[in-house]
């Protein structure tokens, strides 16, 4: 005869905190939290002590003092009397500018090289392999410094454009001047412009630009509606109406009318004295940085594109061909939509890398956020803690923004899986 006894009453013992798996997780987390808080408390205490010893008080007041230095490449109005905050803002815009230009160029070059690497032309495929290996295995900083050196050494100086028999001439019907100080391209001007719209007295936003964007947005909306109706008609009747000329007209006509109303014309660069005046001036540092970053990142993107295309099984191509699709349609309707699913996630991280690498601008004197806030502002005000932390936060925000946008795009192109 056996008697069942109740299990011993669950009494909590201190040792259960360590030996009982039910409580162990909580114990460890509390230990981790305490260690984490202690560590940061220790850092904060040290920082406070060190700053007190140096006689500094952490404050962001310096941001509103006049910066007192010039920034030669800028997208918004800035002079040496502007505040450090505005200098930082110029820097942020410069970072975004070179990152955007770099991403676009790197994607174009990278996709081209990735596809050419798969070419059945042996020589072209080998050349592209050499390109990829060469750019991937040498530090990006060296490419940046090197392209700066190439631009300075090999291009003509502005004074070479002078005289009766100049050593250098402007290209594209005298509209673009490529010099060793930078490239001068025509600038868009409006003779009947709408002027600027000040926001908070600090920033001016061009009303012309806003008008163009509004008109363009409206045209795109109408175009989408036309495409939707064509789609609906195709679904209902099986015949797709020809709409491409209407779509093109809807986009182009209002824009042309608007530009004519605003009095749009180009301002060409003109040689004045020993340098060029007028036109938009792209400095050497911007071009060198842009070239180096996009060529370097293109090598990585090429590999991503190649891997993405190779990841699609040959059966897909053959099945599409069996359905009677022509090679170009196979690429655009069958291969690319599937390859994009593989390509987009690593592409996002390459865009992020390019944006972060743009901080190397400081090596060629391009004034991005590293050059302004974490460079000259830091040196002038001596506020290491505030500037570096603020700079890191800005980069963090830019990175998170880019990955949010690209993840949104990724979720759109992602095939719905079972």
């Amino acid at each position: 005869m056996s008697t069942l006894t109740d299990p011993p009453a669950a009494s909590f013992k201190l040792s259960m905190l360590v030996y009982d798996t039910r409580y162990r997780a909580i114990t460890f987390q509390i230990i981790a939290l305490v260690a984490f808080l202690l560590f940061f408390g220790w850092l904060a205490l040290n920082t406070a002590q060190n700053l007190a010893d140096l006689g500094k008080e952490p404050s962001f007041g310096f941001l509103f003092e006049p910066a007192g230095y010039d920034i030669n490449q800028r997208l918004i109005e800035y002079n040496s009397q502007s505040s450090h905050l505005r200098a930082a803002f110029v820097g942020i815009l410069n970072t975004l500018l070179v990152a955007f230009m770099g991403c676009v160029a790197a994607t174009v070059v990278g996709v081209l090289i990735g596809v050419l690497r798969l070419s059945n032309n042996w020589l072209v495929a080998r050349l592209m392999t050499i390109y990829v290996e060469l750019f991937r295995n040498v530090p990006v900083l060296m490419w940046i410094v090197l392209s700066m050196a190439i631009l300075i050494e090999s291009l003509p100086a502005p004074r070479d454009f002078r005289g009766e028999d100049p050593a250098a001439t402007m290209s594209f019907f005298d509209s673009v001047a490529v010099t060793n100080r930078g490239v001068y391209i025509p600038e868009p001007l409006f003779s009947r412009g709408l002027g600027d719209f000040p926001i908070g007295g600090a920033f001016n936003i061009s009303l012309d630009l806003i008008a163009i964007l509004i008109v363009l947005g409206g045209s795109l909306f109408v175009r989408n509606r036309i495409a939707q109706r064509a789609e609906a008609q195709q679904n209902a009747t099986g015949i797709r109406p020809r709409t491409w000329h209407i779509q093109l007209g809807v986009i182009l006509l209002p824009l042309i009318v608007l530009l004519a109303v605003l009095g749009f014309h180009l301002g060409y660069p003109v040689l004045k004295g020993f340098n060029f005046g007028g036109g938009t001036y792209l400095r050497n540092s911007l071009i060198a940085l842009w070239l180096a970053l996009s060529l370097y990142t293109a090598a990585f993107i090429a590999e991503i594109v190649r891997a993405g295309i190779l990841a699609i099984s040959k059966g897909q191509t053959e099945a599409a061909a069996a359905l009677g699709l022509r090679p170009r349609r196979i690429m655009s309707l069958v291969i690319l939509p599937q390859a994009l699913r593989v390509i987009i996630p690593p592409l996002i991280s390459q865009y992020l890398n390019l944006t972060k690498n743009s901080s190397l601008a400081i090596a060629v004197g391009y004034m991005d956020i590293t050059g302004t806030l974490m460079g000259i502002t830091l040196n002038q005000t001596g506020r290491e803690l505030e500037t570096v932390l603020l700079g890191m936060l800005i980069y963090l925000a830019i990175s998170l923004l880019i990955s949010a946008v690209m993840n949104w795009y990724n979720s759109r192109v992602k095939l719905v899986e079972r």
Partner: protein, 439 residues
């Protein structure tokens, strides 16, 4: 039926014809170039364009590269040589700068009579890597040398008393002994924690007096070298190798933490990884050069190379953690469940089942992180340390070599290329070797 057929046909061949030679246009070099270079007119155009490009490049580059300026002592001398041969101007490479300064590009300002020390450290690095890289061909006992190597390398590079590295090793001995003794009494994690706390106490409080004391009794040591004398590829390799070695274990811990069920541990790991990956390395180097001394107790002033190493290691570990997390995620759930069903606990399962497979999957990612870290060591030139690029600027500051660009860049680029390219080839070899045919 066959009879009727036989009667109606006059001739039936009953032997096979001998095989004919394939048309000469489909075999040999002709056939190869027809199918690989000139298959369509687009391909033909591309081939001809590429050939033109290569020819132009060679025409420009080869005479420039082969210019006999090896003995020149300054750029002016090079120009005189070109003028003498009638080429005029900067008509060729001025290799004299490499002959004169290659040692500097390699070792920075390291005392020249002590060059054998970094060289020996590099050679021993390969010996130490042997058991890890080529496990099949090296005796297992060699792993002890690999574990001793970091201390040996630090001692060789920086010099000084031999008792400092020995005191550092003693800290690890303390961890091991404490773990052995205590693990029979309390659970292993706590035993390890106690050991680590004891070791940290030893390193921070007792190690320096111990080393100093023993050194005053038995002075054994080699000439000390200051950190600011480090430079060139030696500096890049020192920082790179340290970051690579340390980032792998830290990355594994972070990846495990990120996949952990413990909410708080997970939050800390995610925060750390995403923060580090969201900011450029250069900002972390600014932290190393300006802020780290503010964060540490007043009066601490430790070496700039050490500070940079810490930041580069943290940077690399965040990327490593993501690579390893990818490997962990790629592993089928059945492996985790299988490990559980064998009754293995968490750490046993990780050590015996999960990590060997996950790390194998992550090899390409790990190696490309290594290559990235090694290339990123050039960034230290921005916080005015003399890595090869920083030295190139310093060499140009010399009046004799003011204006020399290409030769230095080609030399530095070639050395980086050799290092990185061989690393990527090794990872391909390793992938092939570990390929088991199923994933």
């Amino acid at each position: 039926m066959s009879d009727t057929h036989a009667e109606s046909v006059l001739f039936v061949r009953d032997t096979m014809l001998p095989e004919k030679e394939p048309p000469s246009s489909t075999v040999g070099i002709m056939g190869w170039s027809r199918s690989n270079l000139f298959s369509t007119w687009v391909n033909s155009a591309l081939t001809i364009l590429s050939l033109l490009f290569i020819a132009m490049l060679l025409y420009r580059m080869v005479p420039w590269l082969l210019s006999p300026t090896w003995s020149a002592a300054s750029l002016t001398e090079c120009r005189e040589m070109f003028a003498a041969t009638g080429e005029g101007g900067h008509g060729g490479a001025c290799w004299g700068v490499i002959r004169e300064r290659w040692q500097q590009l390699m070792f920075g300002f390291y005392p020249s009579d002590l060059y054998w020390r970094p060289v020996l450290a590099l050679v021993l690095l390969f010996v130490a890597l042997g058991p890890i890289l080529f496990a099949a061909y090296v005796p297992v006992k060699m792993i002890w040398f690999s574990m001793l190597y970091p201390f040996l390398a630090v001692w060789l590079l920086w010099g000084g008393s031999i008792w400092m590295p020995i005191a550092a090793i003693l800290g690890f001995v303390i961890v091991a002994v404490a773990f052995r003794v205590l693990s029979s009494l309390i659970i292993p994690a706590l035993a390890l924690l106690t050991g680590v706390v004891l070791a940290v106490l030893w390193w921070t409080v007792l190690a320096a007096p111990f080393a100093g004391g023993v050194h005053s009794i038995i002075p054994l040591g080699i000439e000390a070298v200051q950190s600011r004398e480090f430079g060139g590829f030696m500096l890049s390799i020192t920082i790179g190798v340290t970051a690579i070695m340390c980032s792998l274990p830290i990355g594994i811990v972070l990846a495990l933490g990120r996949r952990s069920d413990l909410l708080l541990v997970k939050a800390i790991c995610v925060g750390f990884i995403e923060f580090i990956r969201g900011v450029p390395l250069i900002t972390l180097l600014f932290v190393a050069s300006t802020l780290l001394n503010i964060f540490l107790p007043p009066g601490t002033n430790f070496d700039i190379i050490l500070r940079v190493m810490i930041m580069v290691t943290l940077f690399a570990s965040a990327y490593m953690a993501e690579v390893i997390r990818g490997g962990l995620a790629a592993l089928p759930t059945g492996q985790y469940e299988g490990a559980d069903s064998l009754g293995l606990d968490y750490w046993q399962a990780q050590r015996l089942i999960i990590m060997p497979q996950a790390l194998k999957i992550s090899i390409p990612g790990i190696v490309s992180t290594f290559i990235g870290v090694f290339k990123d060591t050039t960034l230290v030139s921005i916080i005015s340390m003399f890595d090869p690029l920083g030295l190139a600027n310093a060499i140009r500051a010399d009046t004799a070599w003011n204006g020399v660009y290409w030769e230095l860049f080609i030399f530095i680029g070639a050395v980086f290329f050799i290092f990185c390219f061989s690393m990527s080839r090794y990872s391909m070899y390793l992938e092939r070797k570990l390929q088991t045919g199923h994933r």
